[in-house]
Symmetry: C2
Subunit: 520 residues, 2 copies
């Protein structure tokens, strides 16, 4: 892959993982990706010479960075987008491509009663009310407008049916046609190209210049950087006449930084993130005086499998087949151990509690429903041996060392509940087309939680301005958007709300940055 190569339209999650050798396979390197920058006395000194000058310097090329660049460029500003990896898109390009919209035309068509207020309440409930309410409110109230903007302005294509993730009161999720955030990123990149902007890849942020007057005035980067070698590339100073927009993402793959906040997440803890989801920019932001928010809330996805790397395809089966129509079973006891449709935190905590000795399984009926929803994923999961087929319950139990009698009892009990219309044991919501589990074959997948999203980050306000740790006031010339920020989601992020968060605050950052007065 050549440097500065822009993304090709055929770039998908799957060939990303192939070219990168599998996200988790190289994730180990990320620990050495730490920029071991010493205390910088020169923090407040601007460089003698600027190598390049733009109105706006956007750091990061996921949903948020690209949205900021697009709005800033449209408003007439000169813009550069910096990306440390070889390809743009960050975690956004490998995400699941679901976006919530409260009060959407599709909801109207499907007769779903929803409102921004209901989405906000769902976000606050999941967030344990640790959300910065004014930020969450903005996301909920701009959700539909934003999804429509992706359709009308960016040309993103979605499936023609809404779906529903754990913690949402109603089905309100738009899914991209290919079930990948890449479908949005591609359109963002295409639109930016039309405006003459292409992300400058292999450009690693090494310093944010904050001047003696408190204003951020530019950045230092390593050009032609090769992740994760912090000494690779050549130092270069880029002046930001109006503002720097920090859109550098979360730190799910930064072992050193994440274990400070959550010591359980040691190096062999798997992650759904791309290898570059490390904390160098977050650390630098904190060093120049950004206030930290809720860094210790790190979300684990409960639908991961130890039998594939990174995000993989397991969530489709674990959620849409097993959680909705089958069961999740503790293989030591043969019993259920959690409401299979509880929120991500509750389920991930439960999996940890049973020591990862658990499977998600369903019968032929559940599998066939999954086939309709996610036509491509299931054969691939079977092919790769992530999902396995067993003709009888005995065979499945034997494969996972699960005691057969308790397992039979568990299924009997659940089936009786299905017939009675109520899951007495765990209070799970039963689907309208739910059936008792049949006699076989069965399809099963091993479960493991994977680090998925870092809710905390730098403190930003409703204008997407980064906030100073000393004064609680905006840092002039510095905006922040997306997973690098904290507060929107509080303790637990709802599925399908991260893309919204990134797009909304990215756009706000770009618009406001473009409206800044140049300092020089």
């Amino acid at each position: 892959m050549k440097e500065d190569k822009t993304i090709s339209p055929s770039f998908t999650r799957r060939n990303f993982l192939k070219t990168a050798g599998g996200a988790a396979a190289v994730a180990g390197l990320a620990t050495s990706g730490l920029a071991l920058t010493p205390w910088k006395a020169e923090a407040a000194s601007l460089p003698k010479k600027w190598d390049e000058t733009y109105d706006i310097v956007v750091v990061g090329s996921g949903f948020a960075g690209l949205a900021a660049a697009y709005e800033a460029k449209k408003a007439g500003a000169s813009v550069i987008v910096l990306e440390k990896m070889r390809t743009p898109g960050g975690n956004s390009i490998i995400n699941g491509g679901v976006v919530s919209a409260a009060g959407s035309p599709m909801e109207e068509k499907e007769g779903i009663k929803d409102s921004p207020e209901l989405l906000l309440q769902d976000m606050l409930t999941a967030g344990l009310n640790l959300n910065h309410v004014e930020l969450a409110k903005l996301v909920a109230y701009q959700s539909n407008e934003t999804v429509q903007w992706t359709i009308n302005e960016l040309g993103v294509k979605y499936k023609d049916k809404l779906s529903q993730e754990g913690g949402h009161s109603v089905p309100r999720m738009y899914s991209t046609y290919n079930q990948s955030g890449g479908a949005i990123v591609q359109q963002q990149l295409a639109k930016l190209r039309e405006l003459g902007v292409q992300p400058k890849t292999q450009s690693f942020l090494t310093q944010i210049y904050r001047d003696a007057d408190g204003r951020v005035k530019g950045v230092q980067i390593r050009e032609r950087y090769v992740f994760p070698n912090v000494n690779s590339g050549k130092l270069k100073n880029i002046k930001a006449k109006k503002a720097v927009v920090l859109a550098t993402g979360g730190f799910g793959n930064d072992v050193a930084f994440r274990t400070i906040q959550d010591p359980r997440l040691i190096s062999d803890f798997p992650s759904t993130n791309q290898p570059g989801a490390t904390a160098e920019a977050m650390r630098e932001a904190l060093r120049i005086g950004c206030a930290p928010v809720q860094l210790s809330w790190i979300q684990l996805g409960p639908w991961g499998s130890p039998d594939e790397q990174g995000m993989g395809l397991s969530p489709f089966f674990a959620q849409l087949c097993a959680a909705m129509y089958g069961l999740w079973i503790d293989t030591k006891t043969g019993k259920r151990f959690v409401n299979e449709l509880a929120d991500r935190k509750i389920r991930a905590d439960a999996i940890i509690r049973v020591g990862n000795k658990c499977i998600a399984f369903t019968d032929a009926y559940g599998y066939s429903l999954g086939e309709k929803l996610i036509a491509e994923a299931l054969p691939k999961l079977m092919e790769r041996g992530v999902v396995k087929k067993y003709d009888t319950l005995e065979q499945m139990a034997a494969a996972y060392d699960c005691p057969i009698e308790p397992l039979k009892e568990t299924i009997d009990k659940f089936n009786k509940g299905v017939l009675a219309g109520k899951d007495e044991e765990w209070g799970r919501y039963l689907q309208k087309n739910q059936k008792p589990l049949g006699p076989g074959p069965y399809y099963a997948l091993r479960l493991t939680p994977k680090i998925h999203h870092t809710m905390g980050g730098v403190h930003m306000n409703v204008k997407a301005q980064a906030v100073d740790v000393m004064t609680d006031k905006p840092i002039p010339g510095l905006y922040a958007a997306g997973e690098v920020t904290g507060g929107v989601h509080g303790a637990v992020r709802l599925g399908s709300c991260a893309t919204l968060d990134c797009l909304i605050f990215g756009r706000i950052a770009g618009q406001n940055a473009a409206a800044e007065k140049s300092w020089g």
Copy 2:
């Protein structure tokens, strides 16, 4: 009260609250106690002139600061202790005076089987395994040695019976003779006086000087500062030839800073803390590059009463009478709503869930047992109307608008459980001398959670060195100890472990700071 007044031996929690007009009464001012320091370009420039010079500058005069000063002075260093308030002692002097020791002589005398490992496990369980294990381990393994040190070296006097707090596997708590941390602080102050060190009060930290080489070399303070007026007093620069020890406590009374981390804790949320428990020093530490740890975990004490200010005396009744021998009741339903002996977080969350509409009550038997344990507190609680006496259940129910029939059923059910030796409903541990609740009189107290401890803070290592946010390495010349640090307690601090934390890491900081080489 004159400035620079050192503490008198008769200084106790009660006259502190009297002279201060009640901690919570002035707590409102603390919001304006924020040091609105702008971005400091001069952060890396040392002052032209040092007004005073010491080997060690200790900031803060609670358990941790005084322990650091004592060890440093004993090791031959010159030491100054800075305290921003008019009197030394911080939150330590108004704390409950309980300290855990695992493997103590008193445990041996009482036949209690305990070990440092068991204390560590209790800490990790309460901490939801977010604890920095190496720090928690050090606290658990040095717990007995430290309590014995307070006895043998400081001359602290304890009661001759161990007690037990929620979350501890066994009774292992030493209680000071007057049930106040003041009993320890007084001895620390007396010992320091013998060595010629007296805290310099009304000395407010405005800047930590971190030089171009990354080393901390001194501080700027406001002398004759009058809390919370950030413009009061005169600026002064104090050189620290060996090190600065940051022991400035938590931020439980800093509305602005705490709501960034936990937006639920708005200004009228009550707190047990002294008015000076604000975040100025924490912010300054973050500004100069200390890494933040788990700032969003803020502990609420579940045993507070809305009918008295600050910590008050309500915990004695709510815990030792009502939680151990009586019941906690949701007055809207007449039912119990939590295991009365669950940990602080579980109970505080439960109180919030019932909208603070709840009481803790016991009968004459529970009250009489309380009288033996806490002879002084109960009459005062009655006098002040915090605990109220009712001759009949009907009278008590009427006083709190509680439906009488469900309340009767609740008591019947609990009493049957007592006779059967098992609390079926909530699984509460039943005391050996537990009796069914009698016919009256009853004693009751209204419950409200109060902000009690901030688990998060600056990142420190086992040597009590503050850690740099960029490098994860120690910041030369900067130590930190006590509530200003994070990681020891993880998500939830166990009662009686904060004093240990402060004393142990305070001593380590003092010893290591004294062993540093002078920079000039």
